[in-house]
Amino acid sequence: MNQPLSVYELIANASLLVQGVMALLVLASVVSWMMILQRWSLLRRAKQEIDAFEDHFWSGIDLRGLYQDLSQEEQLNGIEEIFVAGFREYTRLSEQPGVDAEAIMQGTQRAMRVTLMREEARLETHLPFLATVGSTSPYIGLFGTVWGIMNSFRSLANMTQATLASVAPGISEALIATAMGLFAAIPAVIGYNRFSANVDVLMKRYEGFCDEVTAILHRAAHASPGNSEGT
């Protein structure tokens, strides 16, 4: 044991099961980092889109004109899709004769809620994976460590003279599994918490936007039949 132990040697000398655990953890870590990066860019983009769209929406633009502009585009982002779905339903229902204002508003709200749900699902994809990695990978690593320490103590039982040097490498290599588990778990947990909070904030804004659109359309729906009856 004169030469210094390198991490590579420790991993290469570990037992097959511990190596499997390590490989699993490395894979989990890589995938969870991939998810983290992908979620991060997606949520940031969603936030930018919602900011931009709200600015545009409240700039006093004509809603019908906005709807026509948007329905020309082939690629719609989340908040635009919610608006387009609601407005399309509203126009379709209000063009039909014999549909009263409440029915129009119910249909519009339903259409917007469906799109909102789909959008929420889109934002939350992979977050359960991060949660799973964050909560289980310490246990997986611990399992590898316990297994490795078990083996190194079992080999110690066969020796006549027990020295620290005879168990230390085994324990050291076993502990690498725990280190890997923590390495995978910590960013996953942080990512999960941060992104689920971000998704919550975004959903609140979407819902607020939905309510505002509903209020505007509600005013219009109740105004137009009243006008027609009045005239």
Partner: protein
């Protein structure tokens, strides 16, 4: 799926970097760990001229002094006799005889001297052989003595808790007496350090040890461990 390509690349890159960092960091840490060898010398045991030592004095080179020519005593007398005597023949005969005698004695003396020289040479050879054997024995004993000294030194050092007033360069010397089983007979302060607490702590360190391991060989014990000096001199303190 296209949107996952970049994150995947980023994740893999990140892991490769972390792996490289860990590998390198681990090895450099080991290098540092190898260099550090703490020095734990905090007292010196000097066994200076043990008192009851039967000194095998290093053999001096046997000096063979060139024997001085013996004073030619009888000669001037015979000369006078020769001059004064009327009977020259008798005198001549006497002179010849004395001369012979003188020669004989001289030869004898020379032989004696030679014999003595030879003896001396023999003696010196034998003595040098003995000295060599003695030296080897001494070396062995010295080795043994050093081992036991180190043991005593360690034992006392372990028992020594230095007072806060101890400073580098203080020294206290004790004379320690043991009985052949290694048990402590007496401790006496010879040279004080001037600091009472320091002296007391040092004395206590020796007393706490109670029993030292000493060589079973009685002559070695008598020579080195019956009475010896113990010098306490801290050198590793910060102040």
């Amino acid at each position: 799926m296209q949107s996952y390509a970049l994150p995947l690349f980023g994740a893999v890159l990140f892991h490769v970097l972390v792996a490289a960092f860990v590998m390198r960091g681990f090895e450099s840490q080991d290098d540092v760990a190898e260099v550090v060898t703490p020095r734990v010398v905090n007292a010196k045991l000097l066994v200076i001229e043990p008192l009851g030592k039967v000194t095998p004095v290093p053999e001096k080179q046997p000096i063979v002094r060139p024997a001085e020519p013996p004073a030619p005593k009888p000669r001037p007398a015979s000369k006078e006799v020769e001059q004064d005597s009327v009977n020259s023949d008798d005198a001549a005969a006497k002179a010849a005889q004395s001369e012979r005698q003188r020669k004989e004695t001289e030869v004898q003396r020379r032989q004696q001297r030679l014999a003595a020289l030879g003896e001396l040479a023999d003696d010196s050879l034998q003595r040098s052989l003995e000295a060599e054997a003695q030296q080897m024995l001494d070396a062995q004993n010295a080795q043994q003595v050093r081992t036991y000294q180190a043991g005593i030194y360690d034992l006392v050092r372990k028992n020594w808790s230095r007072p806060p007033s101890a400073r580098n360069g203080m020294q206290a010397r004790f004379v320690v007496e043991l009985i052949p089983t290694g048990e402590l007979l007496s401790v006496a302060l010879v040279d004080s350090s001037g600091n009472e607490a320091f002296d007391r702590s040092a004395e206590l360190a020796i007393r706490r040890a109670k029993r030292f391991s000493v060589p079973g060989d009685n002559t070695v014990f008598e020579a080195n461990f019956r009475r010896f000096y113990f010098l306490f001199r801290p050198e590793d303190l910060l102040r």
